[in-house]
């Protein structure tokens, strides 16, 4: 059954090709069938393949399928091949399953859009690229998927290309991620030069032998890979593109900028964890990046007006948690949080899509309110999602995965108090902004009328995701709660287990540690309720007060990163392009030409036409030569 592995990415790719070639002759339903159908089939095949993988794991807990040798140049011979192990099983299942749900949702959501076929064309290409990314057996093929998803994110963000602002956001996303990709490709060069292959497993094995732990090469390789991950997963230095990426349709935000693409960085680091184990300093930087991002994005999310931008900042924050987990070599914790986050964040975005569609494209949460009775289904699903995001204890999957990360950040071999403090503060802020959204959007008086009700094909995915957001956490119960953690054992076949050997390990694993996190969450919900329900006007006034306004504005703008990048990078390049439009070197060439013409003008002035002048010139010439002859 594993032999069908190559079908998983092939089906959406086939869907894409079909849509491209038959573009003109397809009506909406046919396009919907091809678009959603191809991903649905791929999900089915994925279920079959991964099911048989889980039920009867192949030798070495990994299955390697090579289609053909991509290129073969003097020892550099990457091939187009797929590698399936526990990590990629998880990613494939999440991508195909969540992807299918979002496709289903899109068939309804994008009903009246004239670029319907084009939308599904790009979406299929995206799913195909993402699957290639996670299934690639070598880093070059991974890079192919990597750039493919970058392209599709650009195409889909600027999908409504009539408005230049959307296209600008699309360009910004693609360029910023490509900056990260440059670091990744440099990493590829370094790795190939050192270990002479880019196939992941042999490369990691060779690295294990030849790299001295902590040596410059190991750290450089790990940092370069981190650079790529930061770009794609919108972490601190390169996170400015994700909030602007919300210009795209909501299903895009749900699929690409919540569930799958932005976690590509997490997958890459998890996949190449050996390199990071060899470079402790690099691991430390990953953790620091994670912590700083989760705090920074958390506070920004707190002050957002736009519903989707708030969710975008929350995504950056949650991925910050994953990076923190990876940083403290809690690889499995990060992967677990990826899965749970995929479900509830996709749910939140899809719900947001319905809300925005219902209120005739109204994005500002302060103009919403009182939708509890109007859109009850959306209210319940959105609240479950928000609860999972805030990690409501015991009932949501977010609790299990985020608490594991918080525990790991304290208790694991690399964990320390600073990370733990950051994680706790982050948890608190997350709870605040998630329930802020709930209170502001669904409670209080209604500002805008609901014009369109969500149809069945939109609600089904919402309910499925809501159920998953509750259930999916149970597959890895914390030790103090219950010994049931089949997910961990499954992941142990591919990733090193988490060792709780830090000095606070005992406290972190104990119920007491969990109690601290739970209390933080509960207190957070209470405060959120107070701030945005009874004292809503007071809170609003407080945030408008002269003392707080500049801080709020600073946070709103994403901590000024955009402002800095604009001045440091964008404006100089634009200025140089404008100044040197007609090519500085050309002036040099024209200068030479001018010199010639000037020489011509002076010489031809010498041709006075008068005979005696000619004799004089001849005489001067003769005199000169004779002088030389006589004197020499």
């Amino acid at each position: 059954m594993l032999g069908l592995l190559w079908l998983i990415p092939a089906l959406p790719a086939a869907g894409f090709l079909a849509l491209v070639l038959l573009n003109r002759r397809l009506d909406r339903t046919a396009a919907a069938w091809i678009g959603a159908g191809s991903v649905g089939l791929s999900a089915l095949v994925a279920l079959l393949v991964c099911g048989s993988f889980i039920v009867s794991p192949p030798a070495g807990d990994a299955y390697h399928q090579v289609l053909w040798t991509w290129m073969d140049v003097a020892g550099f011979a990457p091939n187009i091949g797929f590698y399936l192990d526990a990590v990629s099983v998880l990613w494939v299942l999440v991508i195909t399953f969540v992807g299918f749900l979002i496709h289903l949702y899109s068939t309804e959501h994008m009903e009246h859009d004239e670029g319907f076929t084009r939308f599904f064309m790009y979406l299929n290409l995206f799913v195909a690229s993402m699957l290639v990314l996670v299934l690639a057996d070598n880093l070059l093929l991974l890079y192919l998927g990597w750039e493919g998803v970058g392209l599709c994110s650009y195409l889909l963000i600027s999908f409504w290309q009539k408005d230049p602002q959307n296209v600008y956001c699309g360009r910004k996303a693609f360029i910023v991620t490509r900056v990260g990709d440059t670091a990744l490709i440099a990493g590829l060069f370094l790795l190939f030069t050192q270990v002479h292959t880019l196939e992941i497993q042999p490369m990691l094995a060779a690295a294990q032998e030849s790299f001295v732990p902590g040596s410059a090469v190991a750290v450089a390789a790990a940092l370069l890979i981190l650079g790529g991950a930061i770009g794609k997963s919108a972490q601190v230095p390169l996170q400015t593109w994700l909030p602007d990426a919300m210009a795209g349709p909501s299903p895009v935000s749900a699929l690409i900028h919540a569930a799958t693409m932005v976690t590509a960085g997490v997958y890459l680091i998890a996949r190449t964890n050996v390199l990071f184990t060899l470079a402790p300093d690099a691991r430390l930087i990953v953790a620091i990046v994670g912590t700083v991002t989760l705090l920074l994005a958390g506070f920004s999310a707190l002050v957002q007006h736009d519903l989707k931008r708030a969710l975008a900042y929350s995504t950056i924050s949650q991925i910050g948690y994953m990076f923190l987990a990876l940083g403290v070599s809690g690889w499995e914790a990060g992967v677990f949080h990826f899965m749970t986050h995929a479900f509830f964040k996709a749910l939140l975005f899809l719900a947001a899509g319905v809300i925005i569609e219902a209120l005739a494209d109204e994005h500002d949460i302060f103009k919403m309110g009182g939708l509890r009775r109007e859109l009850p289904a959306v209210f319940w699903t959105f609240t479950i999602g928000a609860a999972a995001l805030a990690a409501l204890p015991f009932v949501t999957d977010g609790f299990y995965s985020k608490d594991l990360i918080i525990a790991t950040s304290l208790g694991s071999v690399d964990g320390n108090l600073w990370f733990y403090a950051g994680a706790i503060v982050g948890a608190f802020v997350t709870t605040l902004y998630s329930f802020r959204l709930v209170w502001l959007v669904f409670f209080g008086e209604r500002h805008t009328e609901v014009s369109r009700r969500p149809r069945r094909r939109q609600l089904v995915p919402l309910w499925i995701l809501a159920v998953l957001s509750v259930v999916s956490g149970l597959i890895w119960m914390p030790p103090w709660l219950a010994g049931f953690h089949p997910f961990e054992t499954f992941l142990d076949t591919a990733l090193p287990p988490i060792e709780f050997t830090g000095e606070y390990a005992h406290f972190a694993e104990s119920a007491l540690g969990a109690l601290v996190t739970i209390s933080v969450v509960v207190v957070g919900i209470g405060i959120a309720w107070l701030l945005w329900m009874p004292w809503r006007r007071g809170t609003h006034a407080f945030s408008e007060s002269p003392a707080v306004r500049p801080l709020a504005a600073y946070w709103l703008g994403g901590w000024g990163f955009d402002w800095v990048y604009e001045r440091v990078f964008v404006i100089p390049v634009k200025w140089f392009a404008r100044v040197a439009r007609n090519d500085l070197v050309d002036h040099v060439v024209d200068g030479i030409a001018w010199l010639n013409v000037a020489a011509w003008r002076t010489l031809s002035a010498g041709q006075t036409g008068r005979l005696r002048a000619y004799v004089a010139v001849a005489g001067f010439g003769i005199a000169l030569v004779l002088a030389v002859v006589v004197l020499r």
């Binding site: 010639n596 013409v597 020489a599 011509w600 010489l603 031809s604 041709q607 036409g609 005979l611 002048a613 000619y614 004799v615 010139v617 001849a618 001067f620 010439g621 003769i622 000169l624 030569v625 004779l626 030389v628 002859v629 006589v630 020499r632």
Partner: protein, 489 residues
């Protein structure tokens, strides 16, 4: 002077008799066709006698003249060139409304002068040849006496030629006074011996001889007359001046001052090198934005003489071959270019304004093609003889490590590209408004029906240019044979 010697110098004799015959017949019956027929007949006979003379073993005939392969080759070249000029002048003179017969007489005497020069190995024949050539040219330049330009050009040429001949004479006298010898071999021995400090008078003498030669070759200090004479003189005469007069004098220079190239540190060498560089630079620069086609070709010929001097200054037989081949290429190209101007010229004005050539590609495609090939050959583009010519000169230059001269040659020929392509653009670019031509008036109605004979000559020349541009070996072998007879060190 034994009987056999007469056979050896038969070409010169034939060349002397032809003008006399033409004059006699002109005295009886003035007919343009007859005059041309006789001229061409005479030249054919001369060409025939070349082979007769070539078969004779005795080369030296009186110390004045040596009819070796070198001389015969160049006499042949001059005769063919003169024949072509004569045919080109046929329709031109018809339109000029002047009595044509004397024109051919003068043409033949000038060629005789050139032939004498080429065969000269003594000051006397050198001086005589040069003067016969010069005086014939004075009359030829002012042939259309009703044109003010022609008169002005003639005056300038005459005065300057006279002055430089005086320099020549004085130089010869000094050399004769000091060294006692007047023969080419003697001079060559002097130059080879190295004109050290004690032989100042001889060096001054040789320099003054070079003034005479320099004027005729129109190299830089003596180039000022060229544009005015080229513009003023009638088109075929300009063609004649640009080719036969310069070619003959250069052949003589090569024979007399051959050893200069062996010692690259001597004053003479440095002087000539400076002259060559100046000619290349000034020649190309002066023609840059010139709007008169004849003046462009005048300046370009100055530059080409600069290239030839580079070949002259390179040492070894290879340099001689390069100079010889380049001369043939230069002859063919210049004759083709000026031929086109001749065919397009009308009775009252030569077609030398740039505006006359606008859109020529459409009006007269054949002529435009000929002119384009000629210009590409001047620029040294592949497929033309100019390219092979420039290549052999660069090879000769590189062979004797004249790097500075070769680099100057390359860079200045780049400037040349600009004004050659500018002419081509004028011919083939339809929309006049784009051309940055000062005073681009309506295109003068140039002669519609150019002489059929002229077009045939031009076609032949173009074919010659292309064939030997692609496969130059036979011509190279001929030039090698000719040059081998010179006393190479």
């Amino acid at each position: 002077m034994k009987a056999g010697d007469l056979l050896t110098i038969s070409p010169l004799i034939a060349l002397t008799l032809t003008p006399v015959v033409v004059m006699l017949f002109a005295a009886f019956r003035r007919s343009h066709g007859l005059a041309l027929g006789l001229t061409l007949g005479g030249l054919a006979v001369t060409f025939g006698t070349l082979f007769v003379s070539a078969s004779r073993t005795a080369r030296v005939v009186t110390p004045l003249v040596t009819m070796d392969a070198y001389a015969l080759f160049f006499i042949g070249l001059l005769t063919v060139a003169t024949a072509l000029v004569a045919v080109l002048s046929w329709s031109y003179l018809g339109r000029l409304r002047v009595r044509p017969e004397e024109y051919y007489v003068l043409l033949l005497t000038a060629t005789l002068g050139g032939a004498a020069l080429v065969a000269a190995t003594h000051f006397a024949s050198f001086f005589l040849g040069l003067e016969i050539l010069s005086v014939s040219l004075y009359a030829l330049i002012v042939y259309p006496v009703h044109r003010a330009d022609a008169v002005e050009a003639a005056v300038k040429y005459l005065v300057l030629a006279g002055a430089t001949s005086a320099f020549l004479v004085f130089g010869m006298a000094l050399v004769y006074a000091e060294a006692g010898t007047m023969s080419a071999a003697g001079v060559a021995k002097l130059v080879a011996g190295g004109l050290g400090s004690q032989q100042v008078v001889v060096t001054v003498g040789i320099v003054m001889i070079l003034v005479g030669v320099g004027f005729k070759l129109a190299v830089v200090p003596f180039h000022m007359w060229t544009p005015d004479v080229y513009e003023g003189a009638p088109a075929p005469v300009t063609a004649y001046v640009a080719t036969v007069s310069k070619g003959a004098v250069f052949a003589l220079l090569l024979r007399f001052l051959l050893p200069v190239s062996s010692d690259q540190s001597s004053t003479l060498f440095l002087a000539l090198a400076a002259v060559a560089v100046a000619s290349m630079v000034a020649g190309n620069l002066l023609a840059l934005r010139q709007d008169n086609v004849k003046r462009i070709l005048a300046y370009s010929s100055i530059a080409h003489l600069g290239y030839l001097l580079v070949a002259f200054l390179a040492s070894g037989e290879r340099a001689g071959v390069a100079a010889g081949f380049y001369l043939v290429a230069y002859f063919a190209t210049t004759l083709a270019a000026f031929g086109v101007i001749t065919v397009l010229s009308t009775g009252d004005r030569d077609a030398d304004q740039l505006s006359d050539y606008r859109g020529l590609g459409a009006r007269r495609p054949v002529l435009a093609a000929v002119f384009a090939v000629a210009l590409f050959s001047l620029a040294g583009m592949p497929l033309t003889m100019g390219f092979i010519g420039k290549f052999v000169i660069v090879t000769a230059g590189a062979g004797s490590a004249l790097w500075a001269l070769v680099i100057v040659l390359v860079l200045t020929s780049a400037i040349g590209l600009y004004y050659y392509t500018r002419l081509i653009v004028v011919m083939y670019v339809r929309r006049p408004e784009e051309l940055e031509l000062a005073g681009a008036g309506p295109a003068a109605r140039v002669a519609a029906a150019g002489g059929a004979a002229g077009v045939v000559v031009l076609a032949a020349l173009t074919a010659f240019l292309l064939v030997f541009g692609v496969y130059p070996s036979p011509l190279l072998r001929l030039v090698e044979h000719a040059v081998s007879t010179l006393p190479w060190p």
